[in-house]
Symmetry: C2
Subunit: 109 residues, 2 copies
DNA sequence: GTGTCATATTCTCGTCAAGGAATATATTGG
DNA sequence: CCAATATATTCCTTGACGAGAATATGACAC
């Protein structure tokens, strides 16, 4: 998993932008107005999100319409799934760990 | 969704720690040795992860065994699912957006 | 071309966070 | 209580990053 993806989402304004774009594509100005963030900051945040491939842009007339990309979210989904698949065995792992400690103790005796 | 969760994961060393703990609980020293990170930094990263409720600690003998918590991963999973549910309609949304632009153009005429 | 709207970039500044080194705080065993 | 091990915390320095203001770039209309 890329830390870049999480880093991009780990900033309040950027997460707000992402959750806003969840409802559909928007232009830079619409994002700025809706979230009450100044346009330059929006552009900067969108740049970070674009570098993380979380958003993409499509120029339409004079505007640049940003929309979410599917891939990063699919990656995150698969990543958390890979954890949750092990979840059922987590307590077993803890048990195993405690047992290994117990074994070491026995070896030392 | 909390930005705190993503912020905690958006740091390379911390993501490495999380992916290491994916294999099972470990003590601070074991994490430090495995990842070749100095112990104080490991403790500091674990503190951030614990504040984000991504890990929890269980003291055993002289050690403190850290393990992953399920909840944040479930939250992330639900969050990305909520996006992917809308994924099928993303192109429709783009269409709708373009249509709304077209309507505005018509209004102006 | 000029002007205008929409967006991107640059600059500076302040803040925050990560790493290193040293030290403090348990916890356990004698 | 003292020593030793394991972990946490503090202080310091440095680099990264976000916000603001100003400016630059780009696309379109005339």
């Amino acid at each position: 998993m890329k830390t870049e993806t999480f880093r991009a989402l780990g900033e309040p304004s950027r997460l707000r932008i992402v959750e806003l774009l969840r409802n559909g594509p928007l232009s830079v100005g619409e994002i700025a107005d809706t979230l009450a963030i100044r346009q330059p900051q929006v552009s900067k945040h969108l740049r970070v999100l674009a570098e993380a491939a979380i958003v993409a842009v499509e120029p339409i007339e004079r505007r640049r319409i940003y929309h979410l990309e599917a891939e990063p979210f699919e990656e995150i989904g698969e990543w958390v799934d890979s954890f949750e698949r092990l979840w059922s065995t987590r307590l077993d792992s803890l048990d195993a760990y405690l047992n290994s400690l117990a074994e070491k103790r026995n070896e030392d005796e």
